[in-house]
């Protein structure tokens, strides 16, 4: 691994090729723009000239969008724009970090199960199946309750609940890649298991994992919303899009804007991740032009 990285042969890293292809894909760029927009907004929340997201006002309850409150106010008179921007932090973090957790645990186990087969596969696959037998949300709720209510625990809970899907997906991919001649070829030139898994298996199974990850980001954002609603995620009064949406559903007819903005935001972010995921899949595949 390290030896090969030093060779002058690899001067032209694969990363630069992929990046070039990604830049040429209009939809991927659109996805990236959307994600970037929300990420910058979320990061800039403390310095933007917006009202305090938790400041309530009894005189401005459920006000429609106006010059004073661009996106309106919620049932406690809080400024929705401000809560949207602060909530973007919680939602994006919940989405991205829980998927990172799921991928970081799920993919290695999937590779181990698929590559070694036998009892390793048997143990990992049975545990995965047992976990998959539990509904995703129920498991996330149970884990979050067990870990204690906080945003970071919610992320861990969502990550662990989403993990079995990645084990399964990776294992299946590995099983098909494993039969390729180049894997046997790697053995025949005397490479060890670690080299084969890292350099021959992993790079060839990433495409569907990336696509699954982007989809799971969307699921995770919604799961965080549900946990927040139960008081297991983002703790009130701090905002997340999910918790805003859950509150808003009680006022759909009186104050539709309360539900509209977080809904649109979730929709956009999910689309953004999907577009980016598709673009990445194409860009990372050297076979596609």
């Amino acid at each position: 691994m390290t030896a090969i990285a030093q060779t002058p042969i690899v001067e032209k890293a694969e990363g630069s090729r992929a990046w070039k292809k990604l830049r040429n894909s209009r939809s991927a760029l659109a996805g990236m723009t959307i994600i970037l927009f929300f990420t910058i907004l979320a990061m800039a929340a403390p310095i933007l000239p917006i009202p305090d997201p938790v400041a309530t006002s009894w005189s401005a309850i459920r006000k429609a969008p106006s010059a004073a409150h661009w996106l309106g106010t919620d049932d406690l008179g809080r400024d929705i724009l401000s809560r949207m921007i602060w909530g973007a932090r919680a939602s994006l973090m919940a989405g991205v970090f829980s998927v990172i957790i799921a991928v970081a645990i799920g993919v290695p186990f999937g590779i181990l199960a698929g590559y070694f087969g036998g009892w390793v596969d048997l143990v990992i696959s049975r545990i995965t199946e047992a976990l998959l037998a539990m509904p995703f949300l129920i498991m996330a709720i149970a884990l979050a309750a067990f870990l204690g209510p906080s945003l970071s625990n919610a992320m861990i809970a969502i990550g662990l609940s989403a993990m079995p899907i990645f084990v399964r997906l990776t294992r299946g991919q590995v099983l098909s890649v494993k039969t390729e001649d180049y894997v046997e070829g790697a053995r025949s030139v005397g490479l060890g298991h670690m080299d084969i898994m890292l350099r021959y298996i992993l790079p060839n199974v990433t495409a569907p994992i990336i696509v699954q990850a982007t989809l799971t980001v969307a699921t995770a954002i919604i799961a965080e919303a549900s946990l927040s609603f139960l008081g297991l995620g983002q703790q009130p009064p701090a905002a997340s899009w999910g918790s805003m949406l859950n509150v808003a559903k009680n006022f759909l007819s009186q104050a539709p804007w309360m539900a509209m903005w977080p809904g649109i935001a979730i929709f956009l972010v999910v689309i953004g991740f999907n577009l980016l995921g598709d673009g990445l899949r194409d860009a990372l595949d050297p076979r596609e032009h």
Partner: protein, 606 residues
């Protein structure tokens, strides 16, 4: 022959041009192709991959995706231009007036319906038969294509049939509606050579019985010689030459035709030669032949570099609720041979005979059940995992499919340098130098090392795989069907490369192949395998010129020879299938005796 000349054509293709939509517009893949297929005759379209031969047949049947392709010209069948028909009318033509059989019998039948139902469907749809009539007719068809026990096999599913039998089912289905024209697109390419012989015989017989015309598409000049009255040679989308098959073979005008024919390995062409011989090289532009250098003197007596004694490899077959072992595949049974430095020993046989398993067992890519393997001073059977990795410096492998044998995520340079660096044979600078040297050595250029495998053609990839195998300076190379997937002209070039490398590097090849003609060309010695056992082994000349075992004889007789004088031959092969090497638990094969025919030529006694 003359009578046939005056028969009216069944199918007339005039100025056929097919283009596919690409990013930048339309790209023509078949250009201005014209030919006739007359009643009762067989016309072959021959060409290598990318020649447009399959696209031609798909264009005739209008089976190309309509929005991504454009077909121009005329395809006249029974005074109707098929290209002008509506899609609905075209459906009535397909499978009725014109039928088609494809290359891959394993995937061209629907796995969830019985074969009987699939054939009957053609009859009920196109001929308006009742289910009962269709059933009776289907059984008649199955008998016609010589499927044993047709009545009882009517209700069986495709997976219960072997590849050869499935191709018979496909033919039965194609013939069910009594078409006037059968288009056969590489129908025997995926089949074993003895099965190929049976299917070719069957197509000839059925053609006589039914009086239909056949448009036969193939890359195999041997098959062309055997089956075709007339031949069209295609090259990169153009029909470069057309004429009587005998004329094409003996008096081919176009340089490409000549190049193609000279690259075809011809069984029996090596009589009287002492050592492997390179293929002649013909310039496809000028048609000038460069004769191969004369064969080297035969090898003197040399020490074996690889000795295999009583090698056995079995795979358990498990079934039932608790996966109890119910039997075993006896893939390799009591195989012994040795291989000397600078020598090529070929393992030949049909699918399932254990030739690939033998190669993999020797490298311990598969764990052998028992036996003894001595390789370059290593006792391979007893090596621990560290020693095993060291041992692999001495023996390397080249695989069949150049499209799956290279990691698509690694540059060619990385792939070639990797084994060198892994075994710490030098630093990164030496690795880069070595890689450039090896790429030059296999006929590519060191400047290509930053490219990815998908940027290369099949033949070039196989060269890259060879370069990779050479990066450890191995003494033995296991070439597992390494040239089988390549086009004839590329195949000849890669064979020549292997022979060059053998001469300059003193390599020993274990050449695993089903292609008897190539084996005859490149081997010093040959071992014929059947159901996991070596049934005959000996010097190449002895085995090919004086075959003793019935299976060897059958194998040699089944090879299509590119000689149009054999147009009429029938092999009279029994319609049997390849036997299975699955045995019940505890089965021990009988001890085999070998008899020595001449020096080093051993034959298994029955």
């Amino acid at each position: 022959m003359t009578a046939e000349m005056h028969r009216p054509p069944i199918l007339s293709v005039r100025n056929l041009t097919t283009s596919f939509r690409t990013d930048g517009g339309w790209k023509s893949v078949v250009r201005d192709v014209s030919f006739d297929v007359r009643a009762g005759e067989t016309l072959a379209i021959v060409g290598e991959s990318g020649s447009g031969k399959s696209v031609t047949s798909l264009s005739i049947m209008r089976l190309l995706a309509e929005n991504a392709s454009r077909i121009e010209g005329e395809v006249i069948l029974n005074n109707r231009n098929l290209l002008a028909l509506s899609e609905k009318d075209m459906r009535a033509v397909r499978g009725n007036e014109v039928s088609m059989i494809f290359q891959e019998p394993m995937t061209s039948l629907n796995p969830i319906f019985t074969i009987g139902r699939q054939i009957s469907e053609v009859l009920t749809r196109h001929k308006g038969m009742t289910t009962r009539e269709a059933r009776a007719e289907t059984i008649r068809m199955l008998e016609k294509v010589r499927i044993p026990n047709a009545t009882s096999r009517f209700d069986e599913y495709p997976h219960q049939f072997s590849g050869g039998m499935r191709q018979r089912v496909m033919i039965a289905m194609a013939l069910a509606s009594r078409p006037k024209l059968l288009i056969a697109d590489e129908p025997t390419t995926a089949l074993d050579v003895t099965i190929q012989g049976q299917i070719l015989d069957l197509i000839k017989t059925l053609q006589e019985e039914e009086g239909m015309s056949v448009l036969f598409i193939t890359h195999d000049m041997g098959v062309v010689a055997e089956i075709a009255d007339r031949t069209v040679v295609m090259y990169r989308g153009d029909a470069v030459e057309a004429g009587d098959t005998a004329d094409i073979f003996h008096r081919g005008q176009h340089p490409y035709t000549r190049a193609l024919l000279s690259a075809v390995p011809k069984l029996g062409s090596m009589q009287g030669e002492a050592a492997p011989l390179r293929f002649p090289v013909v310039d496809t532009a000028t048609g000038i032949t460069i004769a191969p250098p004369p064969a080297k003197a035969p090898l003197g007596h040399r020490q074996p570099i690889l000795e295999v004694k009583n090698l056995v490899t079995r795979f358990p077959v498990r079934s039932g609720l608790f996966s109890r072992q119910t039997g075993a595949i006896h893939a390799v049974e009591n195989v012994s041979f040795d291989l000397r430095q600078g020598e090529t020993l070929s393992l030949v046989g049909e699918s399932g005979c254990g030739k690939s398993t033998t190669g993999r067992s020797i490298m311990r890519l598969i764990e052998p059940t028992s036996g003894e393997i001595q390789l370059d001073g290593y006792n391979v059977q007893r090596l621990g995992s560290m020693d095993l990795q060291r041992m692999r410096k001495s023996i390397q492998m080249i695989f069949q499919d150049p499209f799956s044998s290279l990691n698509p995520r690694m540059t060619v340079g990385q792939a070639i340098a990797e084994p060198f660096l892994k075994h710490k044979l030098g630093g990164s600078k030496e690795a880069a130098e070595k890689t450039a040297y090896l790429l030059d050595r296999v006929g590519l250029s060191g400047a290509m090392m930053n490219r990815y495998p998908h940027e290369f053609s099949g033949g070039q990839r196989q060269r890259i795989a060879i370069a990779r195998a050479l990066s450890l300076d191995p003494k033995v190379i296991v070439a597992d069907e390494s040239v089988s997937a390549l086009d004839v002209s590329i195949k000849a070039q890669v064979c020549n490369l292997l022979l060059d490398l053998q001469e300059s590097l003193d390599l020993a090849f274990l050449f695993i192949s089903h292609d008897m003609a190539v084996v005859e060309r490149v081997s010093h010695r040959v071992a014929v395998m059947y159901l996991g056992e070596i049934v005959e082994i000996g010097p190449r000349a002895a085995v090919f010129e004086n075959p003793q075992h019935p299976y060897t004889k059958k194998l040699i007789a089944a090879v299509p020879v590119p000689d149009p004088a054999r147009r009429g031959i029938r092999r009279g092969l029994a319609d049997d299938e390849l036997k299975s090497p699955v045995r019940p638990v505890g089965f021990e094969p009988p001890a085999r005796q070998y008899r020595e025919v001449s020096a080093g030529h051993l034959v298994q006694m029955a």
